[in-house]
């Protein structure tokens, strides 16, 4: 059957091919989803009370992002533009459900700790933005490197946040005691308020470090 043309996701403007390695670096630092773009803040604040929770959440999010980016980039020439968002969400939701089931089967305790936030990866704006901006318009290699960079950047922010909150809020890191025995844990760091304080401090620190590095680049 000879069907008339249906505009596909790939035909959206800005199909200029981007540089994969550049996208990888950008996601990790310059366009860090947590520390620069402030995307996906809900799970960031909710599950960053321990380093293990933060690491699991970042791995789950990065895996969903990478798998979705590869599939959507591969299908970009057949996904109709009119229903592209429905297709993207359907594909992302599938990978989120699979990830949720696998974590439940292999790490029940972690699954309980992450609660509903695992399933809420479906509506994480960081994933939707990378899919819409890059995966639906770029070849698989670029989409995969972009997803890897963004996922690694998300993990960098989340695990740093989780480690700081666990050390100050419990005196442990990845469950091992790292603070002196007489250290009185700051319970507030385990509460949402502590998440905000730590995130603010981390963003300030990151911005100062980034500025210093840029200044040094200009001077050289």
């Amino acid at each position: 059957m000879n069907w008339p043309e249906v505009e596909v996701a790939d035909s959206i403007p800005a199909t200029e091919r981007e540089n994969g390695p550049e996208r990888l670096r950008a996601g990790l630092w310059r366009e860090n989803p947590i520390l620069v773009q402030a995307l996906g803040m809900c799970p960031v604040l909710a599950v960053s009370n321990t380093a293990v929770n933060a690491l699991t959440m970042s791995l789950a999010t990065a895996s969903v992002l990478l798998a979705s980016a590869i599939v959507i980039s591969s299908l970009r020439s057949i996904i109709p533009q009119q229903v592209r968002l429905a297709c993207f969400v359907l594909i992302i939701a599938t990978f989120v459900t699979l990830t949720d089931m696998l974590i439940e089967a292999f790490a029940l305790e972690l699954h309980r700790a992450l609660g509903a936030f695992l399933l809420l990866i479906v509506v994480n704006c960081m994933i939707l933005s990378r899919i819409e901006i890059t995966a639906s318009r770029q070849p698989v290699s670029v989409a995969a490197l972009d997803a890897l960079g963004t996922g690694a950047g998300f993990a960098l922010g989340l695990v740093t946040l989780g480690s700081l909150r666990e050390v100050l809020g419990r005196g442990t890191l990845f469950g091992s005691q790292v603070m002196p025995e007489n250290f009185e844990p700051w319970h507030v760091m385990q509460l949402p308020g502590g998440g905000f304080f730590t995130l603010a401090a981390l963003v300030i620190g990151f911005t100062l470090l980034d500025r210093r590095m840029r200044r040094r680049e200009v001077n050289t």
Binding site: M1, W3, P4, E5, V6, E7, N49, L75, I78, I79, P80, Q81, Q82, V83, A86, C87, L90, I91, A93, T94, T97, L98, M101, L102, E104, A105, F106, L108, R112, A113, G115, G169, R170, P185, H187, Q190, L191
Partner: protein
């Protein structure tokens, strides 16, 4: 510019639908396959976790029989995919030592799931363990971390009225365990009341059944 899918007849609409349906079918197939693969593992882990907690709240128990409830609310032996709702603890000679009831309800932050033990005389508790909760760290988590409070459940007598009807456990400061009272903890009021309420629900659900069928549930070897 977005193309109107209705321009050019029904074919573009059909194509859009074909793409959506195909993606949904593949997604459904993948989810069903992984679900079938992981379900037994999840059920085994949950069962093992509950079983471990059940043994700790039934002193003297070496093994147990697991029951669930059928559609009529009657207990029946639990199979692999069933929810584990009641454990009957057996000692090394196969004698029933008591029961462990799985019960859950809302806590301060999320659902609290716990297991509590009941002596075979069905007149006192023999322990309590929270299996799952997301209470406020450092505050509501006393329901799992405060060893003294958790151990106090081994001493609580069930309160009955003159007609031997079960009364509710109450939360009190300086609780009298022989009167069915649970110690209050300042700062963790909601979590402590939640645990007490969940135990009351579990008792209301299971005690009438256990009074009637305990020996039968223990395989005729209880008592």
């Amino acid at each position: 510019m977005t193309e109107n899918p209705h321009r050019g007849g029904i074919a573009p609409v059909l194509r859009i639908q074909a793409v959506l349906v195909t993606i949904a079918l593949v997604a459904g197939l993948a989810i069903a396959t992984v679900h079938e693969w992981t379900r037994p593992m999840v059920m085994a882990q949950r069962g093992g976790e509950l079983g471990k907690a059940a043994l700790t709240v039934m002193p003297g128990a070496e093994s147990y029989r697991i029951y669930t409830r059928d559609a009529d609310g009657r207990p029946r032996l639990s199979e692999d995919d069933d929810k584990h709702e009641l454990f009957i603890g057996l000692d090394d000679r196969g004698q029933a030592v008591g029961a462990a009831i799985v019960s859950s309800g809302s806590g301060y932050a999320d659902t609290i799931e716990l297991v509590f033990g009941l002596h075979r005389d069905l007149d006192r508790l023999t322990g309590m363990r929270v299996v799952a909760s997301r209470e406020t760290p450092g505050i509501g988590t006393v329901i799992t971390d405060d060893k003294e409070w958790v151990e106090s459940f081994t001493r609580i007598q069930l309160p009955f009225d003159d007609q031997q009807r079960l009364q509710r456990l109450q939360v009190r400061e300086n609780a009298r365990y022989e009167d069915g009272e649970v110690d209050a903890i300042s700062g963790a009021t909601v979590s402590v009341f939640s645990v007490t309420r969940i135990i009351n629900h579990g008792l209301a659900d299971w005690l009438p059944i256990l009074r009637e069928d305990f020996d039968e549930l223990a395989g005729g070897r209880g008592g």
